[in-house]
């Protein structure tokens, strides 16, 4: 017996929350002496008004889908994986090694190989905190935070001391060979007659990310493993009763989580930079937490939230290009969006529920 119809819960509540965030953001823009309407216009046209804009929006969104899904899967097992950043960094290493040292005949094979390598590296990096949680009771939140730092040091070492081509002053790996370059949306859409901008970095990884959303949906809501993960996450005592082994669930859910985070690297490392640079993850692991929380750990929610954040990133970049608004404004807008759609949603929901209830009572009475 729900008070509100489903459409109101799924569409109306987030929409009104978003509107509130937008209004507040506009006030902030006003306060720093800029024109909010022009700014919003610029963000929208810059991010969504052209295939160029979409190319970037979707590129960022692809990153956030992977990390958002990663956090979500772990969340279903009640594991708070803050380590997406480190896992994605290690995934980048895996992808780079696969691209640098294996002579792939074709990008499609390379993509599969790189995705597997990135996934394995990410999973391995998540497996250690998972094992420590399962066997030693070490709190996953601390260990994953620590593993982010350790990953940064490890990557620094690898890039500066091992992968950096001789003589290069840039702490980055060599460029991957052209055969492993992934087709961008431009390359993919051209054959079917759509002229997509050449410069946007969105690439075939987007399809993998969407496939990952579908995969996670199936995993969580359609497979027995997903059922066990959700059972464990909801009630550890009940899971024990049912014969669901905590060790297995913790390990498996965290490794899937780490693998998803690691696979992000096919987008940023293989698809965009085409080499491994320092700090290639650039906070996408942390944004993934916000995306997962806002998407309520549901793949569809993650998909939408990732696009929203992609929009904010790209819209913000456009603002920074053409105005003197400091780039931190975008961070503030992100904060407001997270706050209103994620944490203050009941502020919108509660009055709405009352309205729907009285509507219903009137109909019945």
């Amino acid at each position: 017996m729900e008070v509100m119809p489903k459409w109101a819960e799924v569409i109306l509540v987030p929409l009104i929350s978003l509107l509130l965030a937008a209004i507040l953001s506009a006030l902030v823009i006003l306060a720093i002496g800029e024109d909010p309407i022009a700014a919003v216009k610029m963000m929208v046209t810059g991010a969504l008004g052209s295939t160029y804009g979409w190319g970037y929006t979707l590129y960022y969104a692809t990153n956030f889908m992977f990390t958002g899904l990663a956090v979500s899967v772990a969340f279903h097992a009640r594991m708070f994986n803050i380590g997406g950043e480190g896992q994605a960094a290690l995934g980048g290493l895996g992808v780079a090694l696969a691209c640098l040292y294996i002579p792939w005949p074709h990008w499609s094979l390379a993509l599969v190989g790189a995705a597997v390598a990135g996934g394995l590296f990410g999973a391995a990096w998540a497996a250690i905190p998972a094992w420590l949680q399962a066997r030693r009771g070490s709190h996953i939140v601390i260990t994953t935070i620590m593993f982010n730092f350790i990953a940064a040091s490890l990557l620094n070492y690898v890039l500066v001391n091992l992968l950096r081509p001789k003589g290069s002053q840039d702490p980055a790996s060599a460029r991957f060979v052209d055969t492993v370059n992934l087709p961008t949306l431009h390359d993919m859409l051209a054959p079917i007659g759509i002229n997509f901008s050449k410069s946007g970095p969105a690439n075939v990884s987007l399809l993998i990310a969407i496939a990952a959303c579908v995969f996670v949906w199936f995993l969580i809501w359609r497979t027995r493993l997903g059922y066990e993960i959700r059972s464990f996450g909801n009630s550890e005592s009940a899971a024990r009763y049912a014969g669901i082994r905590p060790f297995k669930i913790i390990m498996v859910s965290m490794m899937i989580s780490g693998a998803l985070a690691g696979m992000m690297a096919i987008n940023n490392v293989m698809g965009e930079a085409e080499r491994l640079v320092m700090n290639s993850v650039e906070g996408a692991g942390f944004i993934g937490i916000a995306v997962a929380l806002m998407g309520r750990s549901h793949p569809f929610g993650v998909f939408i939230a990732a696009i929203l954040f992609g929009f904010l990133y790209q819209g913000g970049a456009e603002l920074a290009l053409w105005t003197s608004i400091p780039r931190e404004l975008i961070v503030v807008i992100q904060a407001l969006v997270i706050l209103f759609t994620g944490a203050l949603d009941n502020m919108v929901r509660m009055p709405l529920e009352r309205i729907f209830l009285s509507l219903r009572n009137r109909k019945e009475g």
């Binding site: 003589g167 002053q169 840039d170 290639s280 053409w322």
Partner: protein, 310 residues
């Protein structure tokens, strides 16, 4: 209209990017011109910014930092009529619309290293880097060679702040590193660490030891307490490029001591700290480097430093 693209640290980093900003400001003041600018916040944005500015007809497009090398090599060929200027990159090939500018940071660092050793009473000087990357080691390496040249017995301590981007913005850690170096005897500290350096200079001033700024002239931050600053005349490079406009000369340029591309800062804030004798010694070394008599080894040559082990 020209465009200026700052590196990740942001234009007010009190050193590298800020020097570029200062150069541009000088050009604005002198000519009343205008320019577009953007601060990078992600790797993906580098190529985006290049293309967007080029599409919009900006010319020349001046970019900062080695991170721009790779994006530039893919964007520049698409805009043959646009001139690009890149600072801290000298190794791109086959791009005839790009002006690549490098600085011999090791030479400048060498001079301030000498000054440090000369000013030190304890015989111990130190270096604090930001993130542990080759460029920073390059700075530290020149510094160590200079210090050794001035005083072969000098003890040199070097620390890096960290391995995450926070390493550039952690003045608290910079401060703690400074104190640690002080307790090991250092009385002159050279910071090449972005925002972290603010903490280094502050703590040095508070603790009564000398510090050395980097990139821009940071002597004014604590008058009488900053021994000198290792100048990297990014401001001049940017100013020159803006002034030359669309006709900016392309090719690879390295600015060392000879070109006044690097050097040490001497102004009213530190005049009392640099004795005539010190100045004479350092200037002699400067001449000797320019003439080729003294060779300062670059860390890049074989990823190691003769004077210090990182």
């Amino acid at each position: 209209e020209p465009a200026l693209i700052y590196d990740l640290g942001g234009k007010f980093d009190k050193s590298f990017n800020e020097a570029a900003f200062n150069g541009a400001q000088r050009w604005v003041e002198e000519t009343g011109g205008t320019y577009r600018e953007i601060e990078m916040q992600s790797e993906a944005q580098r190529e985006q910014a290049l293309r967007r500015f080029a599409d919009a007809g900006a010319n020349p497009i001046i970019t900062m930092g080695f991170g721009m090398a790779d994006p530039l090599s893919s964007v520049a060929p698409d805009f043959p009529d646009t001139k690009f200027v890149v600072v801290d990159v000298t190794w791109l090939e086959g791009l005839d619309n790009v002006r690549q500018i490098g600085f011999a940071e090791h030479e400048g660092s060498y001079l301030v290293g000498m000054l440090a050793a000369l000013a030190s009473k304890t015989g111990t000087v130190s270096f604090i880097g930001g993130m542990d990357i080759p460029l920073i080691r390059h700075f530290g390496c020149g510094f160590a060679q200079g210090a050794k040249a001035a005083n072969p017995d000098v003890k040199i301590i070097a620390n890096m702040t960290g391995t995450t981007p926070d390493a550039w913005n952690d003045p608290v850690k910079g401060s703690e590193l400074t104190k640690a170096q002080i307790s090991q005897g250092s009385d002159v500290v050279f910071a090449a660490a972005g925002g972290t350096g603010v903490g280094v200079l502050q703590t040095a001033a508070d603790s009564g030891i000398l510090s050395i700024g980097v990139d821009s002239n940071q002597n004014h931050l604590h008058p009488g307490k900053v021994l000198t600053s290792m100048l990297k005349r990014v401001d001049n490079a940017v100013y020159d490029a803006l002034k030359a406009g669309e006709n900016v000369e392309t090719g690879v340029f390295t600015f060392g001591l000879a070109e006044d591309g690097v050097g040490y800062a001497l102004d009213e804030n530190n005049a009392s700290l640099i004795t005539a004798e010190m100045k004479a010694t350092v200037d002699a070394a400067r001449d000797s480097i320019i003439s080729g008599d003294t060779k300062v080894v670059s860390y890049y040559e074989n990823d190691s430093c003769p004077a210090i082990d990182f």
